[in-house]
Every structure is written in structure tokens, then in C-alpha cells.
């Protein structure tokens, strides 16, 4: 299908803006913060830099209390490379606000994978496969759920994988055509480094896929397809870039070395039968709901599986160079999703969140392959082809599209999100409590909300599901948050809190008392 380049450009802009509109539904009408505990940590790092107008070196007290040990190379410093969070800080400065700019920036960064997948599929397979792949990605529950929960840098990190494969393929192709274009291998080095900065796990995905691509290209061409000088320079570029943040780069290295947190161990190995499953047998340790492992709920209706298998079959059967790029991508993903077989500890299930980005192009290729038989229908072929595509689009909109819209529109509604009262209390605490305070919090509905209040107030907050007197030892302040419990009519908890407050805080100083939220300084 030929489309004028300029019209295509407008199409792409509109497609992406549609995606951004959809993914920004959670904060279009309510710009208060939401997300699980990871989300608040990303916010906090950026917010601290904006407030102090300084890059984070040593972690401030309230962030260090939770994340001080997360950099295995050097404790008490950033555990992520700085650029991602600095970009959030830049957004806050440009926007002039604390919360909306971060969530808008996050929506852009998380959905940008649509552009990278569109671009690569467009270059490899044409406009229609790219458009349909981008369309499907808009509704990818795999990506949307991780985006809503707060696995933010990871979302953006996966967007680099197809671009790196593309650049490497373009370089190899140019070498084999005897019209070497080293710019592509240099771009490969730069994009790999940038990928590494955004999220190291996604870098490993990319590295795995590139490794497979090298092997498959060599098996196909049976000759060298690169100039050692150019590749060496690309490697040097990569190493130079990743060395500009040595503390965070070494954190990754240390974790991957023998004995590190992310090295495979004998005790973590699972049965070899896992190799014959995709998501089956994966353990998430309760960190994600069961639906996370469901094809139907995360990728699309079960009938799309037929197209997916067909797409996989086609690329393995054809095995032309462009297919090999997709094969590398798929095998790389398979490898990462099955690291538990070699004893990779925990969180292998997170690699599943990269599956939609390759599955959707394969589904589209499967569909278009089937439609290629319409050529036998003579003059009706065009009607049939575009008619079936229209039906496909409508079916997807009413299944995946409806699910995505409903999930995003209703995300963290009501008191599941930080409320205006809680936000005001957090702001008061930020402006009035000493930075090294320790606040014990009662009553807030969820740990995630408590964590948000912690990061919004720049104050360490202790929150427990079950009260333990020992946690009060170092507490300098008590936060009695009745607002959530009152809102849901939880009289038992409210009565218990009031009784405790009367008995234990009679001699404490009430500093803040608004909207059913009280802050006491312990006497």
C-alpha cells in the first residue's frame, strides 16, 4: 500500500497523539499522583532535583531510608542512571508544577515504543504492517499495566530494542552491499548506551537480541558482515558514554558478577519443562495479579493467537534478512523470559512485559499473509483485503481497545489515589517538618498511598499493615489519617484509631488538623 510520505507523517502524528490521549486518561481530569511504590520513587528523585536545583549526589535522608542500599556498588547514591529522572525534573521546570509534568512526561516516555516499533516495521515491511502494529500497541495491556503500576523506566527502555536491531541490520546490509555506512554501527553503539542508561534490564534484552542477530546473519551470509575498525569504534563509543555515570554503571556490573544479586544460582533453577512454556510456571511472588500471565487479558482475544502462530511460522519459513531481525527479537525475548531455567533469581516475569511489542507485528504479518491469498479473487481482492482489515480493526477496538480504555479511564479512581486532603497534608509536612523527621502513619488505605505521601512530603513515613509498638521507637511524629477510613465508612478502624490517639497522644503537640488528618509531634 503506497502512501504519500507527507500524508504518512500526519498519520503517524495523529496515531501517536491518539495513543497519548488514551494513556493520559488517568490524569486528564485528576492530576493527583497514583501508582505503586516504584512510581513514587521515580517522582521523588526528579522532584528533589527540581526543588533543590541540584543533581542528586548522595541520597537525601527520606529517599535514602528506603533506597540507600539499592546501589550495590556504592550505597546511598542513585541506583538508576540519572538521565531518566533528570528528564522528569526538566519537565517539572518547564511546566512549572510538581505532579502533572511528571505524569505527562511519563506517558510520553512509556508510549514512545509505539513510534520505535512503527518506524522499524515501516522500514522493514511497509506502511500497512506498521500502522496496524502501532494501532495494536496503543491497546497493549502488557504495556499499559506496567505503566500504571509504576515500572516507568522499563517501559521506555524496551522502545530501544527494535531501533538497535534496525541500526545493526542497516550497517550489516550496507557492508554486504559494498556501500559501507558506518554511521549505522556508531548509532548502534550510541543507542545501546542510551538504552543502558534508561533501564539495564531492557539493555540485556537488546544485547540478547543483537547477539542472536549476529549469529543468524552469519549463518545466512556465511561471511563477515562488518568492518572490525568500525565495530571497535562503536564499542568504544558505547563504553565512553556508559562511563559518564560510573557509580550507576558499576552497580549493574556488580549485580551481574558472580555472587551478585542478578547472577544465576543453582537454588533458583526451575524445571527444564519451563522451556516448553511461555508464561506458564513463572512465579511473580505475588507482585502482579494472575491476569498478568493471561494472553487474553494482556495481548488480545484468543483468536489473534492463530495469527501470531502464523506470523511466527512465516518468519521462520521465509527467513529473509528482515525476517531474521524479527526472529532475533523473538528469540532474544524467549531467552530472557526463560532465564529462570538457568537459575536467574526473581522477576523474570517482568520480561513478559516486552512481549506485545514483537507479538503485534507478528500478528499483523500473519493477517496480511492470509490476505495475500485474496489476489486469487481477481477484481474483488482489494475490497476483500481492506474489508477484512476493517473488520480486524473493529474487532480489536471492541476487545482490546475497550479493555484498555476502561482500565485507563478508571485507573486509581476515588480514594485508591492520593486525595486532595492527603496531598495538602503532605505539602504541609514538606514545608514544616524537619527533614530528618520520622513519621508513623495510621489509617491510610494502602501502602502505595502512604509511599506517595512519604515522597511528596520529603519526609520518611513508617507504614505497616499490622501495628507494632516497636516501630514507634524512633518516630518523631504521628500522622493520624482518618480521611480514607471515614470515606469508606470503616467505623471499626476509626474507633480504634481514636481510642489509640486519646490514650497515647494526650501529651503530644497537635501541629496539623485538617480534613480528618492530624499530625502530632511526639512529646
Amino acid at each position: 500500500m503506497r502512501v504519500d510520505r507527507k500524508i504518512e507523517f500526519v498519520f503517524v502524528v495523529l496515531l501517536y497523539l491518539s495513543c497519548l490521549w488514551l494513556w493520559s486518561l488517568p490524569f486528564q481530569k485528576n492530576s493527583l499522583p497514583y501508582g505503586e511504590v516504584d512510581a513514587s520513587s521515580h517522582f521523588a528523585v526528579a522532584d528533589y532535583m527540581t526543588q533543590t536545583d541540584k543533581p542528586i549526589g548522595l541520597l537525601p535522608y527520606y529517599i535514602d531510608k528506603r533506597y540507600g542500599g539499592d546501589n550495590d556498588y556504592k550505597n546511598h547514591v542513585l541506583w538508576y542512571h540519572p538521565p531518566y529522572h533528570t528528564a522528569f525534573s526538566i519537565a517539572q521546570i518547564m511546566g512549572g508544577e510538581r505532579v502533572l509534568p511528571v505524569f505527562l512526561a511519563n506517558a510520553i516516555f512509556s508510549s514512545i515504543v509505539l513510534l520505535s516499533v512503527y518506524f522499524v516495521i515501516r522500514k522493514m515491511f511497509g506502511f500497512l504492517p506498521a500502522l496496524l502494529s502501532g494501532f495494536l500497541l496503543m491497546f497493549s495491556m502488557r504495556d499499559i499495566m506496567a505503566y500504571l503500576w509504576g515500572q516507568w523506566p522499563e517501559r521506555m527502555g524496551f522502545a530501544y530494542l527494535p531501533l538497535v536491531l534496525y541500526c545493526f541490520y542497516k550497517y550489516a546490509r550496507s557492508y554486504l552491499d559494498k556501500e559501507e555506512k558506518p554511521i549505522y554501527i556508531y548509532l548502534t553503539g550510541i543507542l545501546l548506551a542510551v538504552n543502558f542508561f534508561v533501564h539495564p534490564m531492557t539493555f540485556l534484552h537488546t544485547a540478547a537480541s543483537i547477539f542472536i542477530l549476529v549469529i543468524l546473519l552469519f549463518a545466512k551470509e556465511r561471511k563477515l558482515f562488518f568492518n572490525l575498525k568500525h565495530v571497535s569504534l562503536a564499542i568504544v563509543i558505547f563504553l565512553v558514554i556508559i562511563s559518564i555515570f560510573p557509580l550507576q554503571t558499576m552497580n549493574v556490573v556488580v549485580r551481574l558478577l558472580p555472587g551478585g544479586k542478578d547472577t544465576p544460582t543453582e537454588t533458583n533453577r526451575v524445571s527444564i519443562s519451563r522451556l516448553f512454556m511461555w508464561a506458564g510456571g513463572l512465579s511473580a511472588e505475588g507482585s502482579v495479579p494472575d491476569s498478568y500471565f493471561s494472553y487474553n487479558q494482556m495481548i488480545g482475544p484468543y483468536w489473534t493467537m492463530i495469527l501470531l502462530f502464523l506470523g511466527v511460522f512465516i518468519i521462520f519459513f521465509r527467513r529473509n534478512e528482515k525476517d531474521i531481525v524479527l526472529i532475533s527479537w523473538l528469540i532474544g525475548l524467549y531467552f530472557m523470559v526463560h532465564l529462570d531455567v538457568i537459575g536467574q533469581p526473581g522477576r523474570v516475569h517482568r520480561s513478559l512485559s516486552a512481549s506485545a511489542q514483537i507479538f503485534y507485528p507478528l500478528i499483523v504479518l500473519g493477517l496480511l499473509y492470509l490476505l495475500s491469498y485474496s489476489k486469487y479473487l481477481g477484481k474483488y481482492k482489494t475490497y476483500l483485503k481492506y474489508g477484512v482489515i476493517a473488520i480486524f480493526v473493529i474487532l480489536i477496538m471492541f476487545s482490546s481497545g475497550k479493555m484498555a480504555y476502561s482500565q485507563l479511564k478508571g485507573a486509581y479512581g476515588g480514594i485508591i489515589r492520593v486525595t486532595p486532603y492527603q496531598y495538602d497534608a503532605a505539602e504541609w509536612m514538606k514545608d514544616n517538618l524537619p527533614r530528618d523527621s520520622e513519621v508513623y502513619q495510621f489509617g491510610t488505605l494502602t501502602m502505595a498511598k502512604s509511599r506517595w505521601m512519604w515522597m511528596l512530603s520529603d519526609t520518611y513515613i513508617i507504614y505497616r499493615d499490622i501495628f507494632d509498638e516497636r516501630d514507634l521507637v524512633n518516630a518523631t511524629h504521628i500522622l493520624m489519617d482518618y480521611s480514607d477510613r471515614a470515606a469508606i465508612g470503616d467505623k471499626n478502624t476509626v474507633d480504634g484509631m481514636q481510642s489509640w490517639e486519646k490514650e497515647n497522644l494526650a501529651n503530644s503537640t497537635l501541629l496539623y488538623n485538617k480534613n480528618n488528618i492530624r499530625v502530632y509531634q511526639r512529646g
Binding site: 507527507k6 507523517f9 500526519v10 502524528v13 495523529l14 497523539l17 497519548l20 490521549w21 493520559s24 486528564q28 532535583m49 527540581t50 536545583d53 541540584k54 543533581p55 549526589g57 540519572p82 538521565p83 531518566y84 533528570t86 528528564a87 525534573s89 526538566i90 519537565a91 521546570i93 518547564m94 511546566g95 512549572g96 508544577e97 502533572l100 509534568p101 505527562l104 512526561a105 510520553i108 516516555f109 514512545i112 513510534l115 520505535s116 518506524f119 515501516r122 522500514k123 522502545a159 530501544y160 531501533l163 555506512k181 554511521i183 548509532l187 550510541i190 543507542l191 542510551v194 542508561f197 534508561v198 559518564i244 555515570f245
Partner: protein, 117 residues
């Protein structure tokens, strides 16, 4: 149909994006989005425009490289100038970098054509 050049198309896209941001995210969102395009995209497009790449490649790679490399320099310079001033300094550095590369390549091309004469 109006014949749109590269520049006109870019402006059209910017207008579409600007209006979209204003409607759904207010003036705050508008500032963030336009700011991102100006800071994360434009300087790197200026740099990559000097190389033998297709237009789509320049756009995509500028975006994906700029969104990380620009904040990287802001972070590094932030210790000296503060984050806010570093944003301006980083923008100037990358734009100058793009212009210098353009000047360098134009001189190299000029020398090559002088040698051929």
C-alpha cells in the same frame, strides 16, 4: 492540495501537537510538550541532519538519543550551574555542536571540490 515542504510539515505537526497538549493538559502540558520538542529533539536533529540518513531516521534517532543525552548533560552541568541554568547551557552546547559539525562538513566538502577542480 497544498504542497508542503519539510519545514511546513514540521510546523503543521508542531501546531497539531501544541493544540492537542493545550486541550488535554492545559498550559502546563503545552509548555512541557513544546519544551521537550525544543530541548530533546531539535538540537539532535540539527546534529544528525549532517549525516547521510533518511529523514525518518533523523527524526526517530534525534528523539530517542536526545531524550536521554540532553538530560545527561544537564545532570552533569547541574553541579556547577544548577539544574535550571544547565538546561539553557546544555541547549546551547548541543545546538553549537550541530552547527559546528555542519560547518566542519561544509569545509570538508569545499576542500574536496577544490581538490577536484
Amino acid at each position: 492540495m497544498v504542497n508542503l515542504g519539510k519545514k511546513e510539515l514540521g510546523i503543521l505537526a508542531l501546531i497539531l501537537i501544541g493544540i492537542f497538549s493545550l486541550i488535554f493538559f492545559g498550559f502546563t502540558g503545552f509548555k512541557v510538550v513544546i519544551g521537550f520538542i525544543a530541548l530533546f529533539f531539535l538540537p539532535f536533529y540539527l546534529i544528525l541532519d549532517n549525516f547521510d540518513l533518511e529523514e525518518g531516521e533523523k527524526i526517530i534517532f534525534s528523539l530517542f538519543i536526545g531524550v536521554v543525552m540532553f538530560p545527561s548533560l544537564v545532570y552533569l552541568l547541574g553541579g556547577i550551574f544548577g539544574i535550571r541554568i544547565s538546561i539553557i547551557v546544555s541547549f546551547v552546547v548541543f545546538v553549537l555542536g550541530g552547527l559546528m559539525i555542519r560547518w566542519f562538513f561544509s569545509r570538508a566538502n569545499k576542500n574536496t571540490s577544490d581538490d577536484n577542480d
